[in-house]
């Protein structure tokens, strides 16, 4: 179709521009777009816009980016100045001195096989103590502890799903197998076969306070998040200080250091000050309401020092309690005490909705979390 060639070239170039802006546009999508434009009027700008939007956009949050590139490509309008929405996260270079999530290298070299050997060595070198608070550890001790933690996986509890699978005993008859067997016994159902409901792990959601001193504790939970998501459970990870940031994507790297590095870059606010209530509220509105936390175990790691309005925190915790299965709160100030009384206003406000309160200030308490988690049915 020689007369169509210029239109095709145009659309291919447009597809390239979209790709550069961060939209995942494949060749197949461009082809579909060409086919779509062929059924419409290529000279009509509105038709072009909608044809492209229907075929090359797959998510709602890609729409503003598409609009911007379309305007630039077809209408020649320059981009709006800084602050334009892009899909590539803006790496705000905070002054490195304040970069609180600095991670000393956990893995030595490339080989992970040496881990076990080096684990033993390191452990004896630095006398790893399970009950030493993270805040008091030196970077080498922290690295050693993290190597140990890399071996532990958080296992969320299981729940019954609505799917069934064949099983030796169960409450539902397996009609298909029964009928097949019945044919052998001339219509007399001699043996009944059963099905049982399958179990599935609940999703796990980590909401970590990384402001000020909390980052010491939170980054260790990030280690857990990384190893748990590698174990193919559904894990979502969020960080907050004054704002909530979703860092699940950043953690999808094989090497944990890379993953934590990416996470550190994705979080933008290092200014200190904590707004727990507003952040949890943002979570509830942005994700909780959409069902991300439905049936999930939510683990919040924070000391409860909230600078925001306590009423907001109370409301958010109440909603979160209804939208999720269980809420676990890790408060390092709890330490080893068993009769901890919440002393900060934030903790007092949040307390009625917390199902399990742990400390998370040392390795032993994290191991406790790993042990208690599967029990939260």
């Amino acid at each position: 179709m020689p007369d169509q060639a210029p239109v095709v070239e145009l659309l291919v170039a447009f597809g390239q521009e979209l790709r550069e802006a961060g939209l995942p546009v494949g060749t197949g999508d461009v082809m579909t777009c060409c086919a779509a434009v062929a059924t419409l009027d290529p000279s009509d700008l509105a038709d072009l816009y909608w044809a492209g939007r229907t075929t090359m956009v797959t998510r709602r949050d890609q729409i503003p980016v598409y609009d911007r590139v379309f305007r630039r490509f077809f209408l020649g309008q320059p981009d709006a100045p800084a602050g334009a929405e892009t899909l590539k996260p803006a790496i705000r270079a905070a002054t490195p001195a304040r970069s609180v999530l600095e991670i000393p290298a956990t893995e030595r070299g490339e080989s992970g096989d040496d881990e076990e050997v080096s684990l033993g060595l390191m452990a004896s070198d630095t006398e790893v103590r399970r009950d030493k608070s993270f805040a008091a550890c030196t970077p080498e001790e922290l690295a050693a502890l993290r190597r140990i933690m890399a071996r532990i996986r958080l296992t969320p509890p299981r729940r019954c799903t609505r799917r069934t699978a064949p099983a030796p005993t169960g409450s539902r008859p397996d009609m298909r197998r029964t009928v097949r067997e019945t044919m052998r016994t001339h219509g007399e159902p001699a043996e009944l076969f059963w099905r049982r409901r399958r179990e599935r792990m609940r999703p796990l959601i980590l909401i970590l306070d990384i402001s000020g001193s909390m980052s010491d504790y939170s980054r260790n939970l990030l280690q857990f998040a990384h190893s748990t998501s590698r174990a193919a459970a559904r894990v979502e990870v969020f960080c907050f200080g004054t704002r909530l940031t979703r860092i699940t994507k950043a953690l999808e790297r094989r090497r944990v250091d890379d993953a934590l590095d990416q996470a550190a870059k994705a979080v933008v606010d290092w200014e200190g000050g904590t707004r727990i209530g507003d952040s949890l509220d943002a979570f509830v509105r942005g994700w909780g309401r959409r069902g991300t936390s439905r049936g999930a175990i939510v683990v919040i790691c924070s000391d409860g020092l909230d600078r925001g309005d306590p009423a907001v925190l109370a409301g958010a915790m109440e909603r979160l309690g209804r939208l999720s299965h269980r809420i676990v709160w890790m408060n390092p100030h709890k330490g080893d005490s068993t009769d901890f009384r919440p002393s900060t206003l934030g903790m007092m406000v949040a307390a009625p909705n917390i199902d399990l309160l742990l400390s998370g200030h040392d390795l032993r308490s994290l191991e406790e979390l790993a042990a208690l988690l599967p029990e939260l049915r």
Binding site: P24, G26, G28, D29, T32, A35, A36, T39, L40, A46, D47, W50, A51, R53, T54, T55, V57, T58, R59, R60, I63, T161, R162, R163, M175, R176, T178, V179, T182, M183, H186, G187, E188, P189, R289, R290, G291, T292, G315, R319
Partner: protein, 296 residues
């Protein structure tokens, strides 16, 4: 274009008019997306807020093209038995029983047991058989799980189903497939790529007034405008469940039934349940009721 059914429309404008004739007001984007879907024979995924007319458009399309509407309502745990086909086990067992009692030595007996008489066809198989005589609506696909999505992807690619005991059923022509999602879950990319994508947002106020006038005949335009303005203010209020177009229409119908011809604080307070459906939201709305209802 067969058996006297309406022709495929030639332009986007024609499709918009056809839909309007059946009471569905589609904006330019929606019409274009549907037109492309019809022309290319691709499924279309409509994502958007609750109550904006995603399901309605499938019904309207079925009416416009005089096709059968086959609806598959998805839920968590839906599997091939509910979506595709199932054997009528009870009947099969009775048949076996009957055959064995009469001691029939019939070679074909077992084959007949897996014949059409004992096959319960579910929506997807019906759609494959119906081909372009049907509009297949897969409603709320976000409520189904990953396994179902994978299975659906395969179906949407080939449009043929293999039933082990019977054989392969292939669609001679493809039905129009409309998938809807309320975005409670992120769908798998592979499924999204298979379909055309359209985000359905809230209509503009003028458009919403039009919709109200078309859908609820007998309502005064002034009242319609007031209600649409109030609903738009509600949407700005950051409620847990913002009202959709369906709620607007419900509100209008409620006021009509009660014989109210004006929207003031009293009538609004009485009928708020039609448009605000959550306890926390109700409290918030009552606080701001005056400014919501005031003005146009």
């Amino acid at each position: 274009m067969s058996e006297g059914r309406p022709d495929h429309p030639a332009t986007v404008g024609e499709l918009t008019d056809l839909l309007r004739g059946h009471g569905y007001l589609a904006d330019r984007g929606m019409s274009t997306a549907l037109f492309v879907a019809l022309s290319l024979g691709r499924p279309i995924l409509l994502e958007g807020e609750v109550g904006v007319g995603k399901t309605e458009v499938a019904k309207a399309l079925a009416a416009v093209f005089e096709r059968r509407l086959i609806r598959l309502q998805c839920y968590e745990g839906i599997d091939t038995n509910q979506a595709l086909y199932e054997w009528d086990y009870a009947r099969q067992m009775l048949q076996i029983r009957a055959l064995s009692e009469r001691q029939l030595d019939d070679e074909d007996a077992v084959d007949k047991l897996f014949g059409p008489k004992f096959l319960l066809e579910r929506p997807l198989l019906e759609a494959v058989r119906a081909g372009d005589r049907a509009v297949l609506l897969i409603d709320e696909i976000d409520r189904a799980d990953d396994e179902f999505e994978a299975f659906l992807l395969e179906l949407l690619s080939d449009f043929q189903i293999t039933i082990p005991e019977v054989g392969t059923v292939a669609a001679a022509t493809r039905p129009l497939v409309v998938l809807t999602s309320n975005r409670t879950r992120e769908l798998h990319d592979a499924l999204k790529r298979r379909c055309l994508y359209h985000w359905v947002g809230y209509p503009s106020p003028e458009r919403e007034v039009e919709i109200v006038l078309v859908r609820t005949p007998g309502v005064a335009e002034g009242l319609a405008r007031k209600i649409v303005a109030a609903v738009n203010r509600l949407r700005q209020l950051d409620l847990a469940k913002p009202p959709g177009v369906a709620e607007t229409l419900d509100w209008v119908a409620t006021l009509q039934v009660l014989g109210e011809d004006d929207l003031d604080e009293r009538s609004a307070a009485d009928t708020l349940g039609a448009v605000v459906k959550e306890r926390d939201d109700l409290e918030l709305v009552h606080e701001h009721l005056e400014e919501i209802v005031s003005g146009a």
